[in-house]
């Protein structure tokens, strides 16, 4: 039988290919934008005006900075695109006979699918982050820039340990939300597929399409109803969460989302295991 | 090799091997090709070859030497008998076919002699 690690690595290999492709396209686009920007700029790019001071650096640093900024801007678009593509890829894998013939339990299969989608998304962000950091770092050699940053950081020292916990909590929340996205998309896809297994076949394509849309809308409605109920329930059972105490409130939200992720995942596993078949080759 | 699909294949394989032996292509005491090789040669299932060989072993035409494979018997009497059986089968078919064509058994020998003379001439 195939181990979870083997499947995970292999799935990640597949998905990272798309990551590299998007990254390259993004880099190329950023390059084009940078060149366009530099050409259309009036005056010298290597002269920076910071706080009224004129600083002259060499051209390379400013070009790199411009590129880095472009990468940062395009990352919003690129990440959104990959978000969509990775979700579609996930569902394709869920229904692919080549993948479903792999000797591994449906639970591990699904978890690997979600996990690799999420990690590959992070990987894209890491690649972008490194690129932006590397291209923007040289600008720190400019004295004025360093002075301003130092100022900013000394002002930020007012952040206490509480804020660090908050930051960590926010990070965990983002992870849980990211995972939740893939789980929900699967939920919509797997449940509509499951229902369609029971519908008579002879109906026209149009009817099938309508049915799918209805199912999708129904699931979304159910989900929003479920989340309000769940959060309400948690609020009721643990009343002190509603209080201003930040930490507990944050923990409560985290627990709620964790529970949400677990429940949606369990439903997905159930659907995949009991109803959703691989597409016939 | 083309086998008839309405006679058990193992029987046909037996027939084929009997012929090989009768024709001298497989000599007394000689090792016959392995089961796998025969299966490949004749494009048949290994199981079918094994069944045929088993039958031939039971009848004594073949014998097995452990670890070495199947060998043709050295019993010349048995071999001669087998050859005779094959010849008899051919004659059976010939007589039957001739009868279907309207040639009666009494006239068979004369017709045959005439035919053989024509071949020589």
């Amino acid at each position: 039988m195939t181990s979870f690690n083997t499947l995970f690595n292999r799935m990640f290999q597949e998905k990272s290919r798309t990551v590299y492709l998007i990254y390259l396209i993004q880099a190329f686009a950023s390059l084009c934008f940078s060149v366009w920007m530099i050409i259309s700029m009036k005056g010298d790019p290597n002269v920076m005006v910071i706080n009224g001071h004129h600083e002259v650096t060499n051209h390379l640093i400013s070009y790199l900075l411009i590129f880095g900024v472009m990468m940062f801007i395009t990352s919003f678009f690129a990440n959104f695109v990959y978000w969509i593509i990775s979700s579609i890829k996930n569902e394709k894998i869920n229904r692919s006979q080549t993948w479903r013939l792999i000797p591994i339990s449906d639970t591990k299969f699904l978890l690997s699918n979600f996990g690799t989608a999420f990690i590959s998304y992070l990987w894209l962000m890491i690649l972008e982050g490194i690129t932006v950091a590397v291209t923007c770092l040289p600008v720190l050699t400019v004295n004025e820039v360093r002075k301003n940053l130092a100022d900013f950081f000394s002002r930020s020292q007012q952040l206490g340990t509480q804020d660090w916990w908050g930051l960590l909590g926010a990070l965990v929340l983002v992870i849980l939300l990211g995972y939740a996205w893939y789980a929900i998309v699967s939920l919509i896809n797997l449940s509509s597929r499951s229902i369609m297994e029971f519908l008579p076949n002879g109906s026209s394509k149009f009817i099938m399409f309508i049915v799918r849309v209805v199912i999708i809308l129904a699931i979304i409605w159910l989900l929003s109803k479920a989340t309000t109920v769940v959060f309400g329930a948690i609020g009721n059972f643990i009343p002190f969460l509603a209080d201003g105490n930040n930490d507990l409130q944050m923990s409560g939200t985290l627990v709620a989302f964790l529970l949400f992720d677990v429940v949606v995942t369990l439903i997905d596993i159930l659907l995949l295991n009991k109803f959703v078949e691989a597409k016939q080759n | 090799m083309e086998f008839k699909d309405n006679i058990p294949i193992y029987l046909q394989i037996e027939q084929y091997l009997y012929r090989q032996i009768a024709l001298g292509k497989m000599k007394a005491g000689e090792k016959i090709p392995s089961v796998r090789k025969l299966a490949l040669e004749l494009t048949v299932n290994v199981n079918t070859v094994q069944r045929a060989l088993q039958q031939m072993n039971d009848q004594g035409i073949l014998y097995t030497k452990r670890g070495e494979g199947n060998f043709v018997t050295e019993d010349t009497e048995l071999l001669a008998k087998t050859k005779q059986t094959l010849i008899d089968n051919e004659l059976d078919e010939f007589v039957q076919n001739m009868e279907k064509l309207g040639v009666k058994k009494e006239n068979l020998i004369t017709i045959l002699e005439k035919y053989l003379k024509k071949c020589e001439g």
């Binding site: 292999r10 013939l101 339990s105 297994e197 008579p200 078949e277 | 006679i7 199981n47 079918t48």
Partner: protein
Amino acid sequence: MNDLLTVKDLTYRKNQKTILKDANLNLSSGKIVALLGENGAGKTTLMRIIAGVAKNYKGEVNLEGTTKEAARKAKLSFTDGLTGFSDSTKIKDVVKFYATIFQDFDENEFDELRKFMKLDNDMKLSQLSRGMREKLIIALTFARKADLYLLDEPFGGIDAMARKKIINSIILWKDEKATILISDHFVNEISSLLDEVVIVKDHTILEHKSADDIRQNHETIEEYYESFYADEDDE
């Protein structure tokens, strides 16, 4: 003799239609078995259920003592249409996938089969004709050391000469203990190879007979199969 595969009281419905009802089948190891039936009779469905890619059925499928899907998938090799790969994937990359995923995939064996079928490792899937693609699928299926091979219409796009070659390779590469279940329309080419015949008709497994028993009655496999449809012509 221990049964390799046991299918008990299998009932399967899809889109409100009954495809199979109370189907029963027992296969022993080391046999070459033909799965015969009309288009749509349920042959592919049966294989997909055994292979674990069709779901929501009633009844039991037991392969070498296990009913769990993942365990079954490890013990069987099913001809897969390779739709999980993009068209630009090279054969050697497809092989890498299988070699990584399946522990019983033998790369050397695949290479021999590949050379036998005259396929080039650097060819992309999009460059393969239908026949070449089917040859690749057969090579991949048999490169795995499985106990049960499920071949779903493996010869559709392959010409008669190549079919003979491939059948030869099946004989060469099949392990003694392994069982092959082939569903195909070209009964004739493979009939001399068959140990047993299974007929799928009327939404169930109608008959399961040894090939030699059929021939003992002076019937060809094809005649035997067609006899099931004889009354329908009379209408």
